[in-house]
């Protein structure tokens, strides 16, 4: 057999074997490979229909079941792990008959440099190009965002591409499970997302950042820093999508923006005075553009300013969720009564 034919056979076999292993590993480790699932809470007669847009932070930060019951709402939305307004806006059109739109954001969600793993699958390429051009993004950011599109095609064959943290974290979990020393490492295994009516949170979501060892804290901070390439910015494609969502909300229904807090450990490490200022400035600009939109600033709640209320650097645990939900209901009632 000549060398050329040998090479063709070898490359085809290698690609096939690698694809099988890649699919097998993602299935075995239950790594999220699909972007979204529609969820709905509080269905029933006579309830007001609400579209909720938010990431996993929204799922963990507020008890949507309780909110639905207490305010007599049917709340629905699409869950996309690690998502932000850039992804949410593409589901906004699918919602019909919603009387209210609740957008849940945080300094983590709005940081332009945190990119959702599923961005390329949800956001059309043309929209991405337009947003990058309009936001005068740096060339390195262009490259980073655009490279997600070929990666997305590659994932059809090799779903584990770009999900190495999920693979490494998942393998660790498996080993620890077999060794009967299972310590949940959910956030290391990749982003997860759950919206449910029941209040029962899995064990790992009951942890407290305040109980972390210094080594664990460092590891998580380093992971977070790598994910954002150690950059913080609030003026880019996410902001443009956020503005478009609010414009549509203002035209079609009523809009409420909820700003969730992140843990003090995150604030200390990433939210320098300049970053804080930039974040507040970005929110103020949005607020100025859409004065009719109501705002609920849970990030300004002193009670939540403790690592006790977070199970990781940005997600609230049930203890934090309880405080945040109560405050949300109180402020929501106040907003409604003012109208």
């Amino acid at each position: 057999m000549n060398r050329g034919l040998q090479l063709v056979i070898i490359i085809t076999t290698v690609i096939s074997l690698t694809a099988i292993v890649s699919h097998g590993i993602t299935a075995w480790l239950r790594i999220e490979t699909t972007p979204s699932g529609y969820w709905v809470i509080g269905q029933g007669e006579g309830r007001t229909s609400v579209f909720m847009a938010g990431s996993s932070l929204a799922g963990d930060g507020l008890s949507w079941g309780r909110i639905g019951d207490e305010l007599n709402l049917t709340i629905g939305g699409w869950g996309i792990a690690g998502s932000s307004p850039g992804e949410w806006e593409h589901f906004q059109d699918s919602v019909t008959g919603a009387k209210l739109m609740i957008l849940v954001v945080s300094p983590y969600d709005l940081n332009e440099y945190f990119l959702s793993d599923f961005r390329a699958e949800v956001v059309p390429f043309g929209q991405t190009l337009k947003d990058l051009r309009e936001s005068n993004a740096e060339w390195s950011f262009w490259k980073r965002v655009l490279s997600m599109y070929p990666q997305n095609y590659l994932r059809t064959l090799f779903p584990s591409v770009g999900r190495s943290f999920g693979v490494i974290g998942g393998v660790r979990e498996k080993f620890e499970m077999y060794a009967k020393t299972f310590v949940p490492l959910e956030s290391e295994a990749g982003p997860t997302l759950s919206f449910s009516e029941t209040a029962s949170a899995p064990e790992f979501k009951r942890e407290k950042v305040s109980n972390w060892s210094p080594s664990m804290m460092i590891r998580r901070l380093v992971g977070m820093r790598s994910a954002s390439q150690d950059m913080q910015g609030f003026n880019g494609p996410k902001r443009l999508a956020f503005l478009r969502m609010l414009r549509q909300a203002q035209e079609q229904s009523r809009g409420v923006v909820v700003v969730l807090p992140v843990s003090p450990a995150y604030v200390k490490e990433f939210m320098t005075p300049e970053v804080k200022h930039e974040f507040e400035q970005a929110l103020a600009d949005v607020r100025h553009s859409f004065p009719k939109v109501q705002w609920i600033r849970l990030d300004q709640l002193n009670e939540l300013n403790s690592n006790e209320y977070f199970w990781d650097l940005v997600h609230m645990n049930p203890y934090g969720q309880k405080i945040a939900t109560e405050e949300f209901l109180r402020q929501f009632a106040a907003v409604t009564s003012r109208q």
Binding site: I9, I10, V14, I15, T18, R144, V222, Q229
Partner: protein, 474 residues
């Protein structure tokens, strides 16, 4: 555009595809020249003119050296080439270093002086392409090669994209003749190159990029950590820089091989060395041999007496340190290696333990001790190489030596597995063999199994947002 980016994969695929359609040798070389400049322009458009300028000067000097017989004029021409290359390098790389030190010197005598500092952006790869270009003029001057009469071939030699940004620093005597013969890539070349490229990608994406954030964090504030963490950070950096740079070199050599060209090897299991002399025969081979051939030997080498030999070693290594960067940390790093090389040379000449060399127990113990001592010197060197400043390096070293327990202990989940992987590779692989280049000679099942393992490692554990290579800053 770095080798581990999607852009490069697309760029390289297009180059391969277009080249396979080109049948004219002349068109092929023009095509490679144009894509090489386009590759560099993806980093910086204005600085592409810098490569053009230095290459054109060296080409003209080469033509002159071929025509002129008068030794004095030939020497003058060589000086023109060296001044042009080192002048460009010096301006971009050392101007501010020089100004800072002049200012520091003047003010330390109590005199007042303006502190001048210019915003000079270092062109990527400048230390590499200037050194590579100089190999041509020096070798032509020494009459080891014939002058090149094709400007296109010479420009291609200086700017050939696989080696343009961070080497290997190919010798004109090896690479230039390859542009004179019609090189077509063959299946075996392609396979060998692809295997070496994949090995390099694993070193970079699976090891170096994984441990880099943890190493960076430890080096950013050594006073926060205990001795164990600092040792971990130092070992991590040794692994990171090895996998980063040798990974880059493997990818460069692999990419060139896929195109049908052969580059010199740049790394050969350096951490398995039993002496610092051997380390420099295995680490960044293209640079160490450059300094040996064009600096150490030009200074007289070991031909002018023992004292001068040691002085030459020291000067060569100090310059090698300075080549890496305009900072006293690099100079110290070079000096440390220079002194170590001199000590090793003196020890070898003295040979006080020669009578014990035939005893097996001594051989084993001595080999182990030599390895550890070599690694120790290399690690201390890396500390100064990596530290952000001189005080930071001293603080790191003192806390490490005193094994401080009062800082935070951080256990990286990536550094120790990476260390184990590199250690086992160095332990079990023959240090003079190139595994990637031997693979294509094996049976089909063995190749399928090996390549699948490489591909699975990349698609399951590889970082997709790769950091720039460390040596791009040099």
């Amino acid at each position: 555009m770095i080798f581990t980016s999607f852009e490069f994969v697309v760029f390289f695929a297009v180059v391969l595809l277009v080249r396979s359609c080109i049948h004219s040798f002349t068109v092929d070389k023009w095509f490679l020249l144009v894509v090489s400049y386009l590759f560099y322009m993806s980093w910086s458009i204005p600085y592409a003119s810098l490569i053009l300028l230095t290459s054109t000067v060296d080409f003209l000097v080469g033509v002159g050296l071929g025509r002129i017989e008068d030794q004095r004029k030939r020497k003058l021409l060589l000086v023109v080439s060296i001044v042009a290359n080192l002048g460009v390098l010096g301006y971009f790389k050392y101007t501010n270093f020089l100004l800072d030190n002049i200012w520091l010197g003047v003010t330390s005598f109590g005199l007042s002086a303006s502190h001048w500092h210019y915003d000079i952006l270092l062109p990527v790869g400048i230390s590499f392409f200037t050194f590579q270009s100089m190999t041509y003029t020096i070798e032509t001057y020494r009459r080891n090669i014939q002058p090149c009469h094709s400007l296109r071939d010479f420009l291609l030699f200086a700017a050939f994209f696989p080696q343009l940004l961070a080497g290997p620093i190919n010798r004109a005597v090896n690479l230039l003749p390859q542009f004179g013969q019609h090189v077509r890539f063959t299946a075996i070349d392609f396979e060998t190159g692809l295997a070496q490229f994949a090995v390099g990608a694993i070193k970079k994406l699976v090891i170096s990029d994984r441990i880099a954030p943890h190493v960076d964090m430890i080096f950013a504030s050594p006073s926060n950590y205990d001795g164990f963490t600092l040792l971990q950070g130092l070992l991590g950096y040794a692994i990171q820089i090895y996998c980063d740079f040798s990974g880059y070199s493997d990818m460069a050599i692999g990419a060139a091989r896929m195109l049908g060209f052969r580059f010199m090897e740049n790394f050969q299991m350096p951490y398995s060395s039993v002496s610092i002399t051997e380390f420099w025969r295995r680490w960044h081979i293209s640079l160490s041999t450059w300094f040996r051939d064009y600096c150490y030997i030009s200074l007289g080498g070991n031909r002018i007496g023992i004292g001068r030999t040691y002085a030459n070693l020291l000067v060569t290594m100090l310059l090698c340190g300075l080549w890496h960067g305009a900072s006293w940390n690099f100079v110290f790093w070079g000096g440390l290696h220079g002194v170590s090389l001199a000590i090793h040379r003196a020890w070898t000449a003295w040979a006080p333990l020669a009578s014990l060399e035939n005893r097996p127990a001594f051989q084993f113990g001595w080999a182990l001790f030599s390895r550890l001592l070599t690694l120790g010197v290399v690690l201390v060197g890396w500390l100064f190489f990596r530290a952000q400043s001189w005080p930071s390096a001293i603080e790191y070293l003192s806390r490490l030596m005193m094994w401080n327990l009062d800082g935070t202990r951080f256990v990286s989940p990536y550094i120790f597995p990476s260390l184990a992987a590199v250690f086992l590779t160095h332990l079990f692989m023959h240090k003079d063999r190139n595994w990637a280049q031997e693979l294509p000679q094996r049976s089909i099942p063995a190749r399928v199994a090996s390549y699948s393992a490489l591909a699975i490692l990349i698609v399951c554990l590889g970082a997709t947002e790769s950091a720039p290579f460390i040596y791009f800053q040099f």
